[in-house]
């Protein structure tokens, strides 16, 4: 079996939430509750799901920002959180992150040329010409070297996102985690950024974990897609397969809810009713059962296991376990 660039194994991230008088009782928000997936070299994995389903948390755990409660993340078969010191830092350098909000992800008091090479400076790389690297990168993302001496507030949202991409590229990463990188941008600008990311991915053979709640964006950019619901991965598979013939009831209703910019296709029989789950109190059994149109007896008693229906298409739902 070819080894994967990234393998996430039963990842759990719980946030502690103090409640009650004097914060004595503790409660856990199970933001990510047992998630496994892999990403191959040069592959784009899309991660979709409702707000609060845990997408950003998965991304942050992968980027080494949030320590997992349990589980493992292997980067080229090295256990990221078991590594120490220098070695861990070297592995982390191979993973970079781009944030959703280009207005808060760049330090307003730093010049662009310093922002772009900050990861290298932190790494303490010596004997390199930072300015030359900054020049090369800024042109790579479609801006010009005149921009290097400016400050972030002099740029538009799309331009800032380009700068953030340049920064992410500075360490020659293998994996870029892009957390809704275009959701704060206008569609015409979004298209520019998506095209840029597409080109860079091909040119540099990058892998992306591309987080989004826009199914169109996911279809455009990703090879495979993973669907999250309330801290669990409910469906993973080849993008086209999942989007055209979704199997999990949640994915089905999610896709039905997406409005299509074509007046004649403006169909839509809706399925999802009810409210999104409370992450501090997720429903027992299958977390989707209170909203699921196909709910069976077993669904609120037991948690479904993940099963593979076709090669690479995996689902967590009792509908497919019976068979």
């Amino acid at each position: 079996m070819a080894s994967h660039l990234v393998r996430v194994d039963n990842l759990k991230v719980y946030y502690e939430k103090k409640t009650g008088l004097l914060s004595l009782s503790k409660k856990y928000i199970k933001a990510v509750d047992g998630v496994s997936f892999y990403i191959n070299k040069g592959e784009v994995l899309g991660l979709v799901g409702e707000s609060g389903s845990g997408k950003t948390t998965v991304g942050k755990a992968l980027a080494g920002i949030i320590h997992p409660t349990s589980g493992h993340i292997y980067i080229e078969d090295k256990d990221l959180y078991a590594l120490k010191g220098e070695e861990q830092r070297r592995v982390k350098m191979k993973i970079q992150i781009i944030f959703q909000n280009p207005f808060s992800s760049l330090d307003p008091r730093m010049r662009i040329k310093d922002i772009i090479v900050e990861p290298l400076r932190i790494m303490g790389t010596k004997d390199i010409d930072y300015d030359a690297i900054a020049k090369e990168l800024i042109e790579k993302v479609g801006l010009s070297i005149h921009h290097l001496n400016r400050y972030p507030h002099q740029f538009s949202g799309g331009q800032r996102q380009r700068i953030a991409i340049a920064r992410a590229l500075s360490t020659n990463p293998d994996l870029i985690i892009a957390d809704e990188p275009t959701s704060a941008l206008d569609v015409s600008i979004q298209a520019q950024i998506l095209n840029l990311m597409w080109d860079l991915q091909k040119e540099l053979n990058l892998s992306y974990l591309f987080i989004s709640h826009d199914m169109g964006v996911i279809r455009y950019i990703s090879n495979r897609v993973a669907v999250m619901y309330a801290g669990k991965l409910v469906e993973v598979g080849d993008t086209k397969t999942v989007l055209e013939s979704p199997l999990h009831p949640y994915t089905q209703s999610l896709l039905k809810a997406v409005p299509i910019p074509d007046p004649k296709k403006a169909r839509r029989e809706r399925i999802v009713v009810g409210e999104p789950p409370d992450p501090a109190n997720p429903p027992p059994g299958c977390r989707f059962h209170p909203r699921c149109p196909h709910k069976m007896d077993i669904c609120n008693r037991m948690e479904p296991e993940e099963i593979e229906v076709n090669s690479g298409h995996r689902i967590m739902c009792f509908l497919y376990q019976e068979k």
């Binding site: 455009y220 409005p259 007046p263 403006a266 839509r268």
Partner: protein
């Protein structure tokens, strides 16, 4: 065809900043018939909200409506006194804002806020019981479960989607003729967004209200609107029936816009993107504001005022169509 409910004519709303004048809305015209839904689409900052707020006459300082007419049921709203306008807001024209978290007051129960909205425009004094009945009725209508209990809850006890539906409830409490919804679902998940859209459609069927839906989501427009107006830098560049605009877009901006949205239902070739940015477009006085980014631009686009060319109800503001039907 139904009567014209709203007719906006050459509306100009400017913001007078210390150093510059931002021409947020610069000569916008359109009409809306009773029961019709108009989508108002465009990039951030192109003047969608400013248009909506102008109709409500709620433009904040340092903004001012400097020119134009807004005829609503035949009366020019811009000629009314503030007092007459107050009678129209919330009663004849309801407004729904983008952020469901900030538009309800956290210190009052939602029931109280709803009853206030009802009483403000009640023709005669209503007794407590009938107000409560109406509140519960509205909450039920917008899909809040067990409204007879939940009207006693505070806004923070509801989810974002529920809050937005309560806002919609408030805006329909007096059965207005027109609802202006300014990005009512932008902050919400698609599944929740779908609920809101369904609710708005249902209200339209039931009360025959007209709706102006401001959004940058062309999918929502396709699904819910009869007409669509595409705005660019303070001006409408194209307006027409949804099918005409989507299937036979005329303006280069609209064409590019439609090709720049990644779609979930079909495989897309490489996305079209519009080069450059709107920066500087507002300074263009004579020529077409899209000129610096337009792939079809001609010399006269730079300095000649753009006129409207129409094909039935489908109107485009672009020099390419000169000589066509005018």
């Amino acid at each position: 065809m139904n009567e014209v409910l709203l007719k906006v004519e050459n509306l100009k709303t400017y913001f007078f900043m210390k150093r510059t004048i931002v021409k947020a809305v610069d000569g916008v015209s359109f009409e809306l018939r009773r029961g019709e839904v108009l989508g108002l689409v465009g990039e951030s900052g192109c003047g969608k909200s400013a248009t909506a707020l102008s109709i409500m006459r709620l433009i904040p300082h340092p903004g001012r409506i400097v020119d134009g007419h807004i005829y609503f049921k035949g009366r020019d709203l811009l000629a009314l006194s503030e007092k007459e306008m107050r009678g129209i807001r919330g009663k004849e024209i309801g407004m729904i804002f983008q952020d469901p978290h900030n538009s309800l007051d956290p210190v009052y129960t939602v029931g109280w806020q709803l009853s206030e909205a009802i009483m403000l425009h009640a023709p005669k004094k209503m007794d407590k019981k009938s107000i409560l009945r109406k509140v519960v009725d509205i909450l039920g209508k917008v899909g809040i479960p067990t409204p007879e209990d939940r009207h006693r809850d505070y806004p923070h006890q509801f989810s974002g989607g529920q809050k937005q539906r309560i806002m919609i409830g408030m805006s329909i409490s007096n059965v207005p003729d027109l609802i202006i919804a300014d990005e009512p679902t932008t902050a919400l998940d698609v599944t929740v967004q779908a609920q809101i859209i369904d609710l708005m459609k249902q209200l339209k069927e039931e009360y025959n209200v007209s709706i102006i839906l401001i959004t940058h989501n062309l999918g929502l427009v396709a699904e819910m609107c009869d007409k669509v107006a595409i705005m660019y830098a303070g001006k409408i560049v194209e307006i027409g029936g949804v099918e005409e605009v989507f299937y036979e877009p005329l303006h280069p901006y609209t064409k590019l816009l439609l090709k720049s949205i990644p779609r979930v239902d079909i495989d897309m070739p490489r996305l079209e993107h519009i080069p450059g940015s709107v920066e500087g477009a507002y300074e263009i006085e004579e020529g077409c504001r899209f000129y610096p980014r337009c792939p079809m631009a001609m010399d006269k686009c730079r300095d000649t005022l753009v006129r409207a060319y129409s094909k039935g109800d489908h109107i485009v503001y672009c020099h390419l169509y000169e000589g066509g039907e005018g």
